[in-house]
Symmetry: C2
Subunit: 169 residues, 2 copies
């Protein structure tokens, strides 16, 4: 299940996130403003702007699976200035995610996971996945969505969730 | 893992969500406005207000675990008008979640799950949990957080995530 929750589902959500910018581009064109303005938009003056929400969503997915599997993650410089660069960052992370197999996660539940910010403290892999990576990932994807929504971009829940593999009916 | 992802983690997040209102109450007191005003706040005129985000977060957790386990869920009337009533709704759902054990989820992965909106179509329990319940739950919790944050309430990521069971260090 961990492969579905992280690799498959994070890839799907990052793809959905990237597509939100296509709706944002239509809005920018209709309203005749520079699309890149939205990258600096925020919901509160002391909250991070859209570009950082995108970068952190990407890093949460990338570093989450790297730490759960004990592998190295590629470095990204956080220097995106345009929507095209944000989309490329997202594609790069989706590509990285696709390099993982179910086997890479063997024993992840009990693995001791730490980050540079935790001063030597650690969580088990299961705690890290359930209580840290997943809620953080959705936090930044939803906040990015909310910033676009607040700025009038024509998106709805279906753009966020993406297609469902419905059967029957 | 499904019990951790839904019962334990949804309960934790709903508790964190309820506590956001304590920070909101301090803000309302300092700025001398009626706390209940925030329940009607939105990020966009065509997005649902805070009270609905709370109700839907609660329903997503409640109906998610009910459908994954094949059990009945309690009915809530969506008639909350005050923050105290929202907090009671959240507590009620946490109480319901706590009635589930790991065993209740036996075989959930392959269970055919549907909702009244899907016109007879269905997802497997694993698809429903991973692609529908979890992303929807975090969407509404994060949107509730974003509405409060946008209105100046003094909250940060730690209020959203809650305490981590760190070890060592």
């Amino acid at each position: 299940m961990i492969h579905q929750l992280t690799i498959a589902q994070f890839s799907k959500m990052l793809h959905n996130l990237s597509k939100l910018f296509d709706q944002a581009a239509l809005h920018a064109e209709a309203k005749k403003f520079d699309l890149a303005v939205l990258l600096q938009a925020r919901l509160a003056p002391d909250q991070l702007p859209l570009v950082r929400q995108i970068q952190i969503a990407c890093d949460t997915a990338k570093l989450g699976v790297a730490r759960l599997t004990g592998k190295d993650a590629p470095v990204h410089e956080d220097n995106e200035k345009t929507v095209a660069e944000c989309k490329a960052r997202i594609e790069s992370v989706i590509g990285y995610l696709q390099s993982f197999t179910e086997k890479d996660f063997a024993g992840y539940e009990a693995r001791q996971v730490t980050t540079p910010r935790w001063n030597g403290k650690w969580l088990t892999g299961e705690e890290y996945a359930v209580q840290h990576v997943i809620p953080n990932f959705y936090f930044h994807v939803t906040t990015a969505y909310a910033i676009l929504r607040h700025n009038g971009v024509d998106i709805g829940k279906k753009n966020y969730l993406g297609d469902m593999p419905y059967k029957g009916g």
